[in-house]
C-alpha cells in the first residue's frame, strides 16, 4: 500500500509544481508544439453580467483595471449568448521564462496574480457595486499546521484558474 501512497504523493507534487509553473507544459494548440522556454502572456478573461455598452461608457474602466496601467492590454466585448460582457486582460510585453515566473509567483510578485485580482474586483464592482471582504477580525489562530492554508487564502483572490 505504501507504494500507492507514495505514487499519489509524487503525482500530487507534480501537479502542484506544474500549477506553480503556470501550466507551461500544456502547449498552446500549435503543431508542432513549441519547445518549452519563453512563455507568451495569455489572456485572462472574466464575464461580467452587465451589457457591454454600460462598461467603460464614460471612457473609464473600474479602478482595479485602470490601476494596472500601461503594463496590460485590455479588450472589452459582448459575451456570446447574451451573457453580458467579456473583459480580457493580458500583459503587454511580458514574454517570460517559466522558471522566473514561478519565482515571482512564489513571492507574490507575479503580474498574472495582479491581473486575476483586478479582474475579480472589477467584476464585483460592476455587478454588485462593492468588493466583498472576508470577515475581520479573524477568529482563527495561526498554528504550524494551518500556516500553508493561511498562505493560500491570503492569495485567494490572486490565484486560481482565471
Amino acid at each position: 500500500m505504501r507504494w500507492l501512497i507514495g505514487a499519489t504523493a509524487v503525482a500530487a507534487g507534480g501537479l502542484v509544481i506544474r500549477r506553480l509553473r503556470g501550466r507551461s507544459g500544456r502547449g498552446d494548440g500549435q503543431w508542432p508544439p513549441r519547445l518549452p522556454g519563453r512563455r507568451r502572456p495569455r489572456w485572462h478573461v472574466a464575464t461580467v453580467n452587465r451589457p457591454a455598452e454600460t462598461i467603460g461608457a464614460d471612457g473609464r474602466l473600474p479602478e482595479p483595471l485602470t490601476g494596472l496601467g500601461d503594463a496590460v492590454e485590455i479588450q472589452v466585448r459582448p459575451a456570446a449568448g447574451n451573457r453580458g460582457t467579456e473583459i480580457a486582460v493580458r500583459l503587454r510585453d511580458g514574454a517570460r521564462l517559466p522558471a522566473s515566473a514561478a519565482v515571482r509567483r512564489a513571492v507574490g510578485r507575479d503580474p498574472d496574480q495582479a491581473i486575476r485580482a483586478a479582474l475579480r474586483e472589477a467584476k464585483q464592482l460592476l455587478e454588485t457595486s462593492e468588493v466583498l471582504h472576508p470577515d475581520a477580525p479573524p477568529t482563527t489562530e495561526s498554528t504550524p499546521l494551518n500556516q500553508p492554508l493561511q498562505a493560500v487564502t491570503r492569495d485567494g483572490n490572486r490565484e486560481g484558474r482565471l
Binding site: E127, P134, T139, T140, E141, N157, R161, L162
Partner: protein, 391 residues
C-alpha cells in the same frame, strides 16, 4: 462573544472570539436566536475537508434578529426576525440571475481553492471552511451577513423560530432535490437518508405530487419519525431487501426519481462500507459514495438521480456504466436557497411544511460540544441538535 469553534479533527470548544463587524455596505449583523447542527458539519468536524483552521466558527443553518445594517441594505431594518440562507450569493451575477444562487460568482472570497480543486468556484457558505470563503459560522452570539438583502428573509408572524429555522438550509435543500430532480405528479420517489434533509426532500416530493415516496435509512427512530411527521413509506436497509422492495413498490420499473441525501460519510450493510472506509482513511478516496451508488443502481431506466448529500472530492467504484446504459440524468448542487425560501416560509405559515420535530435536542450554546457528540453518534434519538446562544 461566545462561539463554537473547530479546534482540530473531532475537537470543538466554546470560546470567546471577536465580535463580527460590518465589512461591506450591503452587510448586516444578526443576533443568532437558534442555530442547528447539520450532517455536512460532520465532514468538517472529522477533518475530511482539509481547509479548516483552528478557531473557525462552525454552523450554517440559523435564524436570528438583525441588530445592525450597512448603508446599502434596503430590505431589512434593525429588529427584523430573519432566517438566513446558508449560501452567500450576490443576487446580481449571471448565475444568481439564473436562480442558481449557490453558484454565485461573487460570494466566495477564496475562489482559488475551489477553482483548483473543482475547476470553478461556487459561492460562499457560512462556517464551511476556507474553501467556501472562510466566513464565520452561526454557532455564535452574532454573525455577519454579506449581501443581506439577498440572503436574509423576514419570517412571517405566526411561524415559530423552531419551524422557520429549517428554512435556512434543510428545507430548501430538500425542496431543490425534488424540484431539480424533476419530481412530477404520479412519480415514485426514493430518498436515501432519513435525516432532516432526506425527510424534507420526501415532503417536497409529496407536495409536488409524487404518487409514492419511500425513504431509506438504517435508524428505526428516524424512519418512525419520517412515517409519523412526513407521512411517507420507509425501508430499513439492514432489515429489508431494498432492491426487491423498490421494484415491488414501483411496478417493477424502479423509482422515477432517486434522491441521495446522505453525503460523503454514508453507511451500508456488507463489505462495501469496510472497503470505502479503509480507502477513505488511507486518503485513497476522499468520500464514501455508498448511497449514490445505490441510487444509480436502483433508479428506473431513463430516470433521474439527484445528489443532495455533500461530497468534497473523489469517489471510487462509481457506476458510470449503469448511468450511461440506463440513460439516467444525474444532477447535484449545493442549495439554491434564495430561490425557494420565500415560498417555503409561506408553506410553513400555512402548515403544509412542518419541521420542528427535527430539532430533537435543544440546548444553550455552551453545551454545543455535547450536542455535536449526540448528533454525531446519533445518541438518544438525536436527529438535529439546536443551540440557543442567548439561553
Amino acid at each position: 462573544m461566545k462561539a463554537l469553534v473547530w479546534e482540530g479533527a473531532n475537537e470543538v470548544a466554546v470560546r470567546q472570539v471577536p465580535d463580527p463587524q460590518i465589512r461591506n455596505e450591503q452587510d448586516a449583523i444578526v443576533r443568532v436566536r437558534r442555530t442547528v447542527t447539520c450532517g455536512s458539519d460532520l465532514h468538517l468536524l472529522g477533518g475530511y475537508v482539509p481547509f479548516m483552521e483552528r478557531g473557525d466558527v462552525l454552523g450554517h443553518e440559523f435564524l436570528g434578529e438583525i441588530v445592525e445594517v450597512g448603508p446599502q441594505v434596503r430590505n431589512h431594518r434593525v429588529g427584523d426576525r430573519v432566517v438566513v440562507c446558508s449560501f452567500i450569493s450576490c443576487g446580481k451575477c449571471w448565475y444568481c440571475q439564473q436562480q442558481q444562487f449557490s453558484l454565485c460568482d461573487n460570494g466566495n472570497t477564496n475562489p482559488a481553492i475551489t477553482e483548483n480543486v473543482w475547476g470553478s468556484a461556487p459561492g460562499g457558505c457560512y462556517g464551511y471552511s476556507h474553501a467556501l470563503g472562510g466566513f464565520a459560522g452561526s454557532h455564535a452570539e452574532y454573525i455577519r451577513i454579506p449581501y443581506a438583502d439577498q440572503g436574509a428573509f423576514t419570517v412571517p408572524e405566526g411561524v415559530s423560530d423552531e419551524r422557520a429555522l429549517f428554512a435556512s438550509d434543510s428545507a430548501p435543500t430538500g425542496w431543490m432535490g425534488a424540484d431539480l430532480g424533476g419530481v412530477k405528479p404520479g412519480d415514485v420517489v426514493a430518498v436515501w437518508g432519513a435525516g432532516a434533509v432526506g425527510q424534507l426532500a420526501a415532503r417536497a416530493s409529496v407536495l409536488l405530487g409524487a404518487e409514492r415516496v419511500i425513504v431509506i435509512d438504517r435508524l428505526d427512530n428516524r424512519l418512525e419519525m419520517t412515517r409519523r411527521h412526513i407521512g411517507v413509506e420507509t425501508l430499513n436497509y439492514e432489515q429489508d431487501d431494498i432492491g426487491a422492495e423498490l421494484l415491488e413498490r414501483s411496478g417493477g420499473r424502479g423509482p422515477d426519481v432517486c434522491i441521495e441525501a446522505v453525503g460523503m460519510e454514508s453507511h451500508s450493510g456488507g463489505p462495501q462500507l469496510w472497503y470505502d472506509q479503509v480507502k477513505q482513511q488511507l486518503r485513497i478516496e476522499t468520500d464514501r459514495p455508498v448511497a449514490a451508488r445505490e441510487a444509480i443502481y436502483h433508479c428506473r431506466k431513463g430516470g433521474s438521480v439527484f445528489v443532495l448529500g455533500v461530497f468534497a472530492g473523489m469517489v471510487d467504484k462509481f457506476p458510470l456504466g449503469a448511468l450511461m446504459n440506463k440513460g439516467l440524468t444525474l444532477r447535484g448542487a449545493q442549495q439554491h436557497g434564495q430561490r425557494y425560501i420565500p415560498m417555503l416560509l409561506e408553506r410553513m405559515a400555512r402548515g403544509e411544511l412542518v419541521t420542528e420535530h427535527l430539532g430533537t435536542h435543544t440546548m444553550p450554546l455552551d453545551e454545543a460540544p455535547r450536542g455535536y457528540e449526540l448528533f454525531k453518534q446519533k445518541l438518544d434519538g438525536c436527529v438535529r441538535a439546536v443551540f440557543e446562544p442567548a439561553a
